[in-house]
Amino acid sequence: MTLVSVLAAFEKPSTSDFVWTPFFRVFGFPVNWIVVMAATTVSVVVGLFYFALRKGKTVPGRLQFLAEASVQFIRQTVVMEVIGPDGLVFMPLLVSLFIFIFFANIFEVMPGNTTINSRVAFPLVMGVMIWVIYNAVGIRKHGFFGYLKVQCVPSGAPKLMLVLLIPVEFLSNIVVRPFSLALRLFLNMMAGHFLLALVFGATVITWEAGIILKPFAVLPLAVSVGMLLIEIFVAVLQAFIFVILSATYIQSAMVSEH
C-alpha cells in the first residue's frame, strides 16, 4: 500500500474514542465498557487489600508489604507533611483515593483501552466529594461565617483591597476547586490516550507504507515505548497530585489563620 492510502485509512483519535455503546441494561442503567472497567478497578483495589491484610504478619510478605508501603507513603509524604498529626483522620480517605486513581489510570496503557478517568464523570464525582469534605471540615471547625472569613479574607491585606480580594478568593478557594481537581485528572488521562494512539498509529503507518519505509518503523516504535513509560509515570503522578491537593485543601480549611 502507498503512504497516501495508509494515511487515508488511519482512524484519527478523537473524543468519540471514549463513547461506548451499552452492552445491556440493569434496571434501566446502561452497563458499558466504562462501568465494567470501574467494577474491575474496584475489585482490584478491594482484592489487593483483602488478600494483603487477610492474615497480617509482623514480617510482611510481598503483597502485604505493597499494601503497607502505599499506606506508609501517603501517611508520611502527604498527611504528616501537609496537614500534620490532626490529619490522620483523613488518611484512610486519601489512601483509598490514591490507590483507586492509580489503578484506574494504569488501565490506560492497555492497548485499545481507555481509563474511567478519561471520562469526566469519575474525576468530577471525586472532586465534588473532596469539596464537600473540606468545606464540612472548615464549617465544623470555624462555624459557617468564620469559615468564610478564613477562606475569603486574607489576613494583613489593606482594607481597600478587600473589595477586590474577597470575590477573587471566594472564586478560587470555594467555587473553582472541585472543577480544577477534576479537570486536571480528566484532561491528563484524555491527552495520554491521544498521545499513545498517535505514536502507535505512526508506528503502524510507517510499517504498512511500503517496503522502503519498513526499517524506519523502529523510530516511532522507540518513541511509543518511551511514551508508554511516561504515561505510567503520569498515572502515578496524577494520583499523587490529586491526593496531595486534596490534603492541601483540607489543611487550608483547618488552619485558624489564613
Partner: protein
C-alpha cells in the same frame, strides 16, 4: 518542479479555506497555551532542585510542595488542550 508548485498551491488552498484556518487556529491555541505553563514548570522544578541541593535535609518537604506547584500550574496547559477539542 511542477509537482512542488502543485503541492504548494494545494497547501495554500487548504490553509486559506475555512477548515484549514480552523485547524491552524486550534493548533495555535494549544501551542500558545503551553508556553506559559512550561516556563512556570521550569522555574518551579529548577528552584526546587536548587533548594534540595542547598538543604538536602528538607528534600522531602520541598518535593511535596514542588508537586503541589506542578499540579496547580499544569492545569492551564491542559485547559488549552481542552479548548482544542471544544471548538
Amino acid at each position: 518542479m511542477a509537482g512542488i508548485a502543485h503541492l504548494a498551491a494545494g497547501l495554500l488552498a487548504l490553509m486559506t479555506t475555512g477548515d484549514g484556518l480552523k485547524t491552524i487556529a486550534k493548533a495555535l491555541v494549544f501551542g500558545l497555551a503551553t508556553i506559559g505553563p512550561t516556563v512556570g514548570l521550569g522555574i518551579v522544578i529548577g528552584k526546587a532542585i536548587e533548594a534540595m541541593a542547598r538543604q538536602p535535609e528538607y528534600a522531602g518537604t520541598v518535593r511535596t510542595y514542588m508537586f503541589i506547584g506542578i499540579g496547580l500550574i499544569e492545569l492551564y496547559a491542559l485547559i488549552g488542550f481542552a479548548l482544542y477539542w471544544i471548538t
